[in-house]
């Protein structure tokens, strides 16, 4: 029997600011190379969803967007899709949410001029933009994965790279996690959620939120393999050629 990976890709056309679609491309290629068939379900503003449709998904992905793109999807997400997405995540569905999408799943986003954008409140986190009072968080980042994540046997099994993630962030809003929320990683170099408390992203049930934008998975293939393995409930993954992935990951630690 062939294995199939179904990826729910939210708002591809509106939310793809920094090559975020690369993540879906990478998940697809890494699955196909293991003879896992991939089905991508495009979840756009004109597509209606329900609990059943959501439960057919193995991974949900949503990227970051420019302000205009986020405004467009924001209403649809809150009104038509939020409840189903919440249900999917609370039940332990696997997800990857980047930058603007990561923000929208928190309680709110408060702009410097006082504009208040309500989020889905799926996890206990809020975002605030301090305008000119605090610098935009831009640059390469190196972060150490949360020990809970490292000790997940699914991750230990597929982890061929190491205990760190590398990426690039570029965000104006700063996010703050509640005390009982677990970050995805702890920053060693660069900005993370806010440049203040060393946290980066969130690890909420089986959902990952992060400010590492764009093709996060290109440099962090161990996260890609984790998402595939976790979502399909596989004990292990067949090995594939990683001869370009490993040096690209290693080189990332030196980028200034």
């Amino acid at each position: 029997m062939t294995t199939k990976l179904t990826i729910g890709y939210f708002y591809k056309d509106q939310l793809n600011l920094y090559g975020d679609n690369g993540n879906v491309e990478i998940l697809t290629m890494r699955a196909l190379r293991r003879n896992i068939y991939v089905d991508i379900v495009h979840i756009d503003t004109d597509l209606k969803i329900n609990s059943k449709a959501m439960s057919a998904l193995d991974i949900v992905f949503m990227g970051g967007g420019p302000d205009s793109g986020q405004k467009e999807v924001y209403k649809d997400l809150l009104k038509n899709k939020g409840d189903y997405l919440n249900e999917y995540i609370q039940k332990g569905g696997v997800g990857l949410f980047i930058c603007g999408a990561y923000q929208l799943l928190g309680h709110y986003y408060k702009a410097d001029d006082g504009t208040f954008i309500e989020g889905l409140g799926i996890y206990d986190m809020y975002t605030q933009h301090f305008g000119g009072r605090k610098a935009r968080c831009v640059g390469n980042v190196v972060a150490r994965l949360n020990s809970d994540f490292l000790s997940d046997p699914v991750f230990s099994e597929v982890n061929f790279l190491g205990g760190k993630i590398v990426g690039f962030c570029n965000h104006g809003g700063r996010s703050y996690l509640a005390d009982d929320m677990a970050p995805l990683a702890y920053v060693e170099r660069g900005y993370g959620n806010n440049g203040e408390d060393d946290t980066e992203g969130i690890l909420f049930k089986n959902t990952l939120g992060t400010y590492f934008h764009g093709p996060l998975l290109s440099r962090n293939a161990h996260i890609a393999d984790y998402l595939i393995s976790k979502s399909l409930g596989m004990d292990s993954l067949p090995s594939i050629d990683n001869s370009l992935v490993i040096p690209a990951y290693t080189a990332s630690f030196k980028y200034k």
């Binding site: 793809n16 600011l17 920094y18 090559g19 975020d20 679609n21 690369g22 491309e25 990478i26 290629m29 420019p66 302000d67 205009s68 935009r136 831009v138 640059g139 390469n140 690039f168 570029n170 934008h213 764009g214 093709p215 290109s218 440099r219 001869s243 370009l244 992935v245 040096p247 690209a248 080189a251 980028y255 200034k256």
Partner: protein, 389 residues
């Protein structure tokens, strides 16, 4: 002091050419600003009364070159900033180097390409310092994602342009791409004097240029010169001997191979180049991708995943692929994820080593090169023995 500054600028430019540090189009301006800060006001005042500004993510250099070429062939004395030096330093350099021994510019029209983020500031500077009349034509070519770590989001750039133009005090004709939804707010604003261009091939087919993006560059340029009274027919005939700028389809013969250079510095320019390549069926034997992350390129190379993977795979099909530059590993990985087959020996951080390898393996072949900005300068320097900036 002003006259001394012009002499020093010319001397610096001469020295940088002699010591092979580039053609000296930015450093003189940098020094001029240091030793004589009032040069900014002076520059704003010395510009001829007709000013054409070209800004946008892609097409600035080519469009600027087309306009200058048409005007020069119609006996206008033109000053322009060469080689894409489009920040304040570069603009000051070009203007100072264009002055005569008395420090006068004596030109009829200035055609300047202006960096998209610097553009609103440049308008501010002109508004503040210019004392005599000024007739401006501003070409807003396009806005797309480019160097996001520096430019942030396209929306922010568009808002800054609009705000800058709205408070600009000199009469300004604004030429923009009418097919772009994001320019709509400019067209519907009654306080702005707008002219739209499209991607029609009618004019393009009468020139040596090709590709949709060059159709837009050309059509925008034709409007700009038409606003000065030069008909399309006259413009087209003026372009009969036109050559593209550095790294825009330029061909260089090197070590018995032909290198064709197409600057590919952001998703739009990369995909445009790939599309043009597919539509024209140019014969090529090999492709060299070069990705750097130096300051002029932006530190964030995420955008390479916005290159259309299907196009990428098609263009690379059954060709020898080489990858180089400071971020060669990520470019190689991007190609790999697009399904392109790569030879382990064909990827090398050093551009010099990559060229050595290519020339060792191939003779009388055509190699298409897709460098981003700083790697284009580096590649050209290796191929022609001298740098351009």
């Amino acid at each position: 002091m002003y006259l001394i500054t012009t002499y020093i600028s010319k001397l610096i430019s001469r020295i940088s050419k002699i010591i092979n540090k580039g053609a000296g189009y930015t450093y003189p301006g940098y020094i001029a600003l240091k030793i004589y800060p009032k040069i900014v006001k002076k520059i704003c005042c010395m510009l001829p009364s007709k000013l054409i500004l070209v800004t946008g993510t892609n097409g600035k250099t080519t469009t600027t070159k087309i306009i200058s070429h048409i005007l020069q062939n119609n006996n206008y004395r033109v000053i322009s900033n060469k080689s894409g030096a489009n920040l304040l330093n570069g603009i000051i350099s070009s203007l100072l180097l264009g002055t005569n021994i008395l420090g006068r510019l004596n030109r009829d029209v200035a055609v300047l390409e202006v960096d998209e983020l610097f553009f609103p500031y440049f308008l501010d500077l002109l508004g503040k310092h210019r004392t005599s009349s000024l007739d401006v034509t501003a070409l807003l070519m396009n806005v797309s994602r480019d160097q996001l770590d520096r430019y942030f989001e396209p929306d922010i750039v568009l808002n800054k342009w609009k705000a800058g133009l709205k408070k600009f005090s000199f009469p300004t004709k604004i030429v923009l791409d009418k097919s772009q939804e994001y320019f709509k707010p400019f067209f519907v604003d009654d306080t702005l004097d707008t002219y739209g261009f499209d991607s029609s091939y009618t004019a393009l087919d009468k020139t040596s240029l090709s590709g949709e993006f060059n159709a837009k560059n050309l059509n925008a340029a034709l409007i700009a010169v038409e606003l000065m009274g030069i008909s399309e027919e006259v413009s087209i005939s003026a372009l009969s001997d036109f050559k593209l700028a550095y790294g825009r389809g330029e061909e260089i013969n090197y070590a018995q191979n032909i290198y064709k250079i197409y600057l590919a510095k952001n998703p739009a320019s990369f995909n445009n180049n790939l599309k043009m390549f597919m539509s024209q069926k140019i014969h090529i034997d090999s492709l060299l991708f070069i990705l750097n992350d130096n300051i002029p390129d932006g530190k964030d190379v995420s955008w390479i995943y916005d290159i259309d993977p299907v196009l990428l795979k098609k263009v690379c099909h059954s060709k020898d692929i080489y990858v180089s530059g400071t971020r060669y590993l990520e470019m190689a990985l991007r190609l790999d994820y697009a399904g392109v087959t790569l030879g382990k020996d064909n990827i090398n951080r050093s551009i010099k080593e990559s060229l050595k390898k290519i020339n060792k393996c191939m003779k009388d072949k055509t190699i298409v090169c897709y460098p981003n900005y700083s790697s284009m300068l580096e590649l050209r320097k290796l191929l022609v023995g001298r740098s351009i900036l």
